[in-house]
């Protein structure tokens, strides 16, 4: 081996004490995604969030009347009833209209006798939520790329809140995201293969300990609980005949890995925003049988090329955007992974809760009533607030409820010498305060 190669490799074996820690923030001239706070922040504040559902065609939401998401009567079924009609012969796409990956999610609109929420949100696995740009306009481009269907001028008086059924299973050290049965996951994998026109050749299950969070002290199981923990299936992996792998997790999320990447035609690439959107549109069209979106819309977020079903109903569009979406991953203009998230199958509808408007939330923000994982101190002034949007935070293990928040992007560190602009994400619950208890105000400290 050449001396320079030997030196480079041997440097990797030097004593740990010589290897510096690297700060969580990585400087760059593009959006880097939410920065991970390495080794920091098990921050637990108040309030919930989360993941959601994907209404299918035929569902109906009527905000002025019976605000429910309902499939036609004949199409309502439980998850366990969704079975693949065949896995041995590939059905032509026109026979797949009755095959769905996820069950219909429906509820009767509830606006009275709403339970008061005392939700918990953990930022522990998320780390610092900061965005970094090298120009003042970077945040605006970022917001544009998000293409959030929510707009400030929407006249929304209430929004649905859901209980995250996976949350209780996520405990420190012995938690897995499970709310689906092994049969449910198997059926979903089979239906995904069917819709992809692929044949499953083998199926594997992943098992792990399951300890209910509610049975632990602050989420930390005891040694006895470790030793007596129930073992459950938390993931099904189906290997297909063409080297594609379909993995279904216990929270309903699906990962389709193309071990042989699917090359896009020459005219498609991901070189810039416009090209990425155009290529995502192409992929959504190519996989329309799988996605079954009536009105696909597209956005770019955290390096992912995303598509969701933008319904003409505002609420439904907001829910789908946040809680039911598909992400395409590419390398060198070849599709490598499809992620399908659908939190509706792990949610329980609690009711439509009154919400505050954007201006009220902004006022609360300036008064210090927000939560965040970012180390921010001092008062928030108008000129620090670069933008805001309404979101449902998702994160199966971090949010007890899926509920709306106003997320504000606040300038926290401006360094003109290096042309860098850093923004922290600060959350103000959109649910009216009379339905919230024990809301802690994030104090900017860690651990």
């Amino acid at each position: 081996m050449k001396n320079n190669e030997k030196l480079l490799l041997t440097l990797g074996e030097t004593e740990d004490k010589h290897i510096p820690d690297i700060p969580p923030k990585k400087k760059n001239n593009r959006f880097l995604g939410w920065s991970a706070g390495i080794g920091a922040c098990a921050a637990v504040a108040a309030i919930a969030t989360a993941v959601a559902l994907t209404p299918k065609s035929g569902m109906d939401i009527n905000l002025t009347g019976d605000s429910s998401i309902n499939p036609p009567e004949s199409e309502q079924h439980e998850l366990s009833e969704i079975t693949s009609s065949t896995t041995t012969e590939q059905a032509p796409s026109d026979t797949l209209t009755d095959v769905h990956i996820y069950p219909y999610f429906s509820y009767e609109t509830k606006t009275e006798d709403l339970q008061v929420l005392s939700p918990a949100v953990s930022f522990g696995a998320t780390g610092f939520e900061e965005l970094e740009f090298d120009s003042e306009n970077g945040i605006n481009n970022y917001i544009d790329n998000l293409n959030n269907p929510w707009t400030e001028d929407m006249e929304l008086s209430s929004l649905p809140v859901f209980k995250n059924k996976v949350y209780d299973g996520w405990t420190s050290g012995a938690g897995v995201f499970i709310c689906l049965s092994e049969d449910d996951m198997t059926n979903m994998a089979e239906n995904t293969a069917l819709l992809l026109n692929k044949e499953i050749v083998s199926m594997q299950t992943q098992k792990d300990m399951f300890i209910s969070r509610s049975e632990t002290e602050n989420g930390y199981p005891t040694q006895e609980q470790f030793e007596s923990a129930e073992i459950k299936v938390y993931e099904i992996s189906a290997e297909c005949d063409d080297d594609t792998r379909i993995s279904v997790s216990g929270d309903g999320s699906i990962k389709i890995t193309f071990n042989t990447p699917v090359q896009l035609p020459d005219e498609y690439n991901f070189n810039d925003t416009n090209d990425s959107i155009k290529s995502t549109e192409h992929l959504a069209e190519q996989y329309s049988t799988l996605l079954q979106y009536d009105k696909p819309d597209f956005f770019l977020k955290s390096g992912y090329n995303c598509v969701y079903d933008k319904n003409s109903d505002d609420v439904r569009a907001i829910l789908n955007y946040n809680l039911s979406l598909t992400r395409f991953c590419e390398t060198d203009s070849a599709l490598t992974i499809i992620y399908i998230d659908n939190h509706f199958c792990s949610s329980e509808y609690l009711g439509d809760y009154p919400i505050i408007n954007y201006d009220s939330a902004k006022q609360l923000l300036k008064e210090g009533n927000y939560i965040t994982s970012a180390p921010i101190e001092g008062e928030i002034s108008d000129d620090m607030i670069a933008a805001g949007e309404l979101v449902y935070r998702s994160g199966s293990g971090q949010n007890e409820y899926f509920m709306p928040y106003y997320r504000f992007y606040v300038l926290v560190d401006e360094n003109n010498s290096t042309s860098e602009y850093n923004y922290a994400a600060l959350y103000v619950p959109a649910v009216s305060s009379e339905y919230l208890t024990d809301m802690s105000v994030w104090n900017g400290s860690f651990n």
Binding site: K2, T14, H18, I19, P24, A42
Partner: protein
């Protein structure tokens, strides 16, 4: 979760050790792999291999600094993957750039054949190196950050970082010569 608890999960053969490692150190190890591989797909595969290697390594190992322990595994796997991937083509990645810079220091002959002595010499060299120079040197040649990125992290201009790295490489060459390794 605290590192000690994660390590304990490995020793208990709980697969949650992997998910906790991925949650806490996925971005950290991902940054190391991405510096070397510049490919999202390769990085993801490298990370998956990292967790499996960690699973095989604990027990018997019980690292004091889990981050560095996992980072070393990632670094080795990424370099190995990089060398295989680029065996038949020229590349302009950070690995090649680092190798070019280190070639100025130790050349490209095949004379460094005493692995143990080299490792000891490197440790003693780093021991006596002043902290700012050492940090920059390791950001460049351990994490393989681009010089511009390493300079930013050390709050230096790119030119100052290049100068510092050159001086450190020169000192390393002298050190290895004194140790009769070159």
């Amino acid at each position: 979760m605290e590192d000690e608890l994660i390590v304990e999960l490995y020793w208990k053969r709980s697969e949650n050790a992997i998910s906790e490692s991925r949650t806490k150190y996925g971005r950290y190890c991902g940054a190391i792999a991405d510096n070397i591989l510049h490919s999202r797909e390769d990085t993801e595969e490298c990370l998956n291999d990292t967790w499996m290697r960690a699973w095989e390594a604990m027990p018997p190992n019980r690292p004091n600094r889990l981050s560095v322990f996992l980072g070393k595994i990632t670094r080795n796997l990424a370099i190995d993957r990089y060398r295989k991937r680029n065996a038949e083509k020229r590349s302009k990645g950070q690995v090649d750039l680092c190798l070019d810079e280190l070639a100025e220091c130790v050349g490209t002959e095949e004379t460094l054949d005493d692995d143990i002595a080299l490792k000891e010499a490197l440790n003693s060299f780093l021991e006596q190196l002043d902290q700012p120079a050492k940090e920059l040197f390791m950001l460049r040649y351990w994490y393989m950050f681009p010089i511009k990125e390493a300079a930013k992290r050390c709050k230096l201009t790119e030119g100052a970082a290049k100068m510092s790295l050159k001086r450190t490489r020169d000192r390393l060459r002298l050190w290895l010569e004194q140790e009769e390794l070159l």
